[in-house]
Structure formats: structure tokens, C-alpha cells
Amino acid sequence: MTLLNQKHATLEAAIAEIPDGASIMVGGFGSPGTPFALLDELLAQGQTRLTLIKNDANEPDIGIGRLIRAGRVDKLITSHIGLNRIAIEEMNRGRLAVEMHPQGLLAEKIRCAGAGHYGFLTDIGLGTEVAEGRREIECDGRTWAIEPAIHADVALVHADLADAYGNLVYRGTAINFNPLMAMAADRVIAQAFRVEAPGQLAPASIHTPCAFVSHIVEVDPATSEQGRRAHAV
């Protein structure tokens, strides 16, 4: 049940609810939108055998790169890991299971779970290697692939602004997968650079309504990876 007035949480308490073996969606395309503070706390707390769902693998020394390096990730569902040579090595050595999807299909599979459907029918990838292993169906005289939705136990998202009820506003290209993942996971932990009182965010500017958010954690931009450095990417 939603308890609007009890969402504000500490980093420690919010992350402590995640068990070993959890499936976790992680927002971000490259660094923008990656919830670095939440990920670093997850690293510190030691949860393991994780399945992560993220567009990319960050870089080896930041974000989910650190979790992969520490051997805490069994499986990664992703679109492109070209900027993380460690993730590629771990994949090639068979120590990290990697499930790759075209980026837009990954986004839609997550969005589809967030919309409460089983899956969708697409023509993307027909006639390519990506189509292998997919179930296909004929509709209106054409072939379509069934793409099942991707759910997760938890989503970790990064917002620019939030209010205490958990309404979220993203900024710039830090939007990316965050609002989709916030809809698709059973429990949603959001970090935000600023948490306002309810009423401070314009209703039509809210990207993720508070109904989707379980916990909201305020993080200091100055101590966050986002604020500290310009990444190679």
C-alpha cells in the first residue's frame, strides 16, 4: 500500500531492503541518469548474485561497473557494453551472463512491464541474428516477433528534483530509462539532488508521478559521481 507521507528514507535504509539475488533495474544512459549514490551504497552493503537491467554497463570504475568488477552481478540485461572492457572480459570468460537487446526494444520491454502488459509484437530485427530464439506469430498476413515485458524486483533511479511524496522531475539526457523503470519494478528507490515539499513541482512538469515511487533519498550533488567529474563518456 502507498504511504505517501512515509517515503523519505536514508540511503542505508532504502538499499537495505534489497535482498541477495534481486533483479534490479538501473536508470541511466552512460553517466547521466545513473543513480551513483544508490549504487555505491549497494556496493557497500554487499548484496550479491544480482541481476541488473541497464542500458549499458557504465565504465569499469563507476556505477554498475564497480558491482560487476566486485563479482556481485550474475546477469546483465543490456543494450551495449562497449565502454566497459571489464564487463566484456567477464562476459567472454563466462563469468557474467549478458542478455543483449536492441536499445529501443529494451526500452519498450521495460515500458511494457510498466504498463502492465505481457508483451508486444514488433517487426524490429526480423531477418537478423537478433530474431533468433524469438517466438513469432502471423497477424494480418505479416510476421511479428513477440517481445515479452521485462519486470524487476527493484528499480534504482536518479532524478533532478523530487517532492516528499515521490514525484520526480528529470533533467537533460538524464531522463532516458528512468521513468520507464520507475513504472516496471515492484519497488522503486529514487535518488534526487533536491527534495521539495509537496506542491513545489508544477503538476504538468512531473515526469514520474509519486504513485510509482517507494522511497526517495536526497543526495548531495557535490558528493555524487554526477557532480564530481566529467566522464570520458
Binding site: 507521507n5 504498463a115 509537496p198 509519486c210 504513485a211
Partner: protein, 217 residues
């Protein structure tokens, strides 16, 4: 003395827990709005795309772009958001709305609900009712115990086309508050001044009544 509808609404207001997200169906449930204390931190969802409806002051000029799904002009309370219809129903299908209050033509002891169509007489379309009924975890029916001809609306089995099967949690009428359980319809509260025999006579459904635990409202 309160009218039957006022009695239903006052009792229904006690179902709402602070911090919840609540949807109010068209008709009687919409009026529940006015029975929730303004300071209570509850966000009212309306499926046309708003979370955080609040009643307009009677003398306030309405914002013509702010209505609820019943078409009434509304305000937005602090913490409100507005969004498109796909997101609004994603919220419903993902069970992010905690409780929905709905009217009924018929409701039965299995928790089946019929509130959208009377074949040959009334079929304006189902609107958002089906997804609310199927996916919101707690569905409270607010309706009169009998129709205008005195026929029971709380049945052994619905005869009209269903909105959704086995979706009702609780039923509040002017005569009783009933919980749908695996064993059948359990009466939680009975109206002040009403006796059990009269309640049973006004009801087609089998009622489970434990006199020792029966509340009054």
C-alpha cells in the same frame, strides 16, 4: 437525519487510510471527495489523467482544463500531477492505485461486479471501469441496497454483463457493510435500527452474520 447516500458516504470515508491513493468512480463515489478531511494526506486519482484532485470552492472560478473523469471541475492539491491517459492506466494496471470506490447495478457473493451495461437499455461503453475493477487491489462498492423497484442488487450471481469477475473487496450500502470472503458475503456492520431479518429479506445473496461481532453504522 442523514439520507441513505450520506450514510453510505460517511461510512465509506472510514475506509480511506492516510497516505493512500484513491480512485472515485462516477456517480455516488465521486461525492466521497467531500467526506475526506482536507488535511488528510490522500491523493485522489482520476483516470482522465490526474493524481491529487481536490474539490473546488463553490465560489472559485473553475480552471476549464481541470476536470475529473465524471466531468466535474476540480482543483489540484499540493503534490498533484497530471499525465496522459496511457500513464494513467499504467498506474491502474500496475496496481498503484490502492483503493477504488465504484457504483454497481449488481454485485454478487463471489465478488463479481456489473456496473456498465444493461443489454438493450444502457450501453454507453465501459470507460475506465474494467481496468480499475480488474487491477486495483481494494474495490469498495458503494450503492443502494435495492434498486428503485425494491429488487435486491446484492445477488447470489450477477445476471448483467460483468465489469470484472471476482474483483469486489467490500460493499457498503445504506443497510450494511459486507466483506467478500472465500466463504461468501460476511456482514461487518449493519445500519443503526435495522434488524438482521430485515437485512436478509432485502438481500438475495447469502449473508454470513456473526451477531457477536456485528458493528453498527
Amino acid at each position: 437525519m442523514p439520507s441513505d447516500q450520506e450514510r453510505i458516504l460517511a461510512r465509506a470515508a472510514r475506509e480511506v487510510v492516510p497516505g493512500q491513493i484513491v480512485n472515485l468512480g462516477i456517480g455516488l463515489p465521486t461525492r466521497l471527495f467531500h467526506y475526506l478531511p482536507p488535511e488528510m494526506e490522500v491523493l485522489v486519482h482520476s483516470e482522465n489523467g490526474v493524481l491529487g484532485c481536490q474539490p473546488l470552492d463553490h465560489d472559485a472560478a473553475p480552471d476549464l482544463e481541470m476536470i475529473d473523469s465524471g466531468g466535474a471541475y476540480i482543483g489540484a492539491r499540493p503534490g498533484a500531477s497530471v499525465f496522459d491517459s496511457a500513464l494513467s492506466f499504467a498506474m491502474i494496471r500496475r496496481s498503484r492505485v490502492d483503493v477504488t470506490f465504484m457504483g454497481a447495478f449488481e454485485v454478487d457473493q463471489q465478488g463479481n461486479l456489473a456496473n456498465w451495461k444493461i443489454p438493450g437499455k444502457f450501453s454507453p461503453g465501459i470507460g475506465g471501469a474494467m481496468e480499475l475493477a480488474q487491477k486495483v487491489e481494494t474495490l469498495v462498492v458503494l450503492c443502494s441496497h435495492n434498486d428503485k423497484h425494491g429488487n435486491p442488487k446484492i445477488l447470489k450471481r450477477c445476471r448483467l454483463p460483468l465489469t470484472a469477475p471476482r474483483c469486489v473487496t467490500r460493499i457498503i450500502t445504506e443497510k450494511a457493510v459486507m466483506q467478500v470472503t472465500d466463504a461468501g458475503l460476511e456482514v461487518l456492520d449493519i445500519a443503526e435500527g435495522l434488524d438482521v431479518a430485515t437485512l436478509r429479506a432485502a438481500t438475495e445473496a447469502d449473508l454470513i452474520i456473526d451477531d457477536d461481532r456485528l458493528g453498527r453504522f
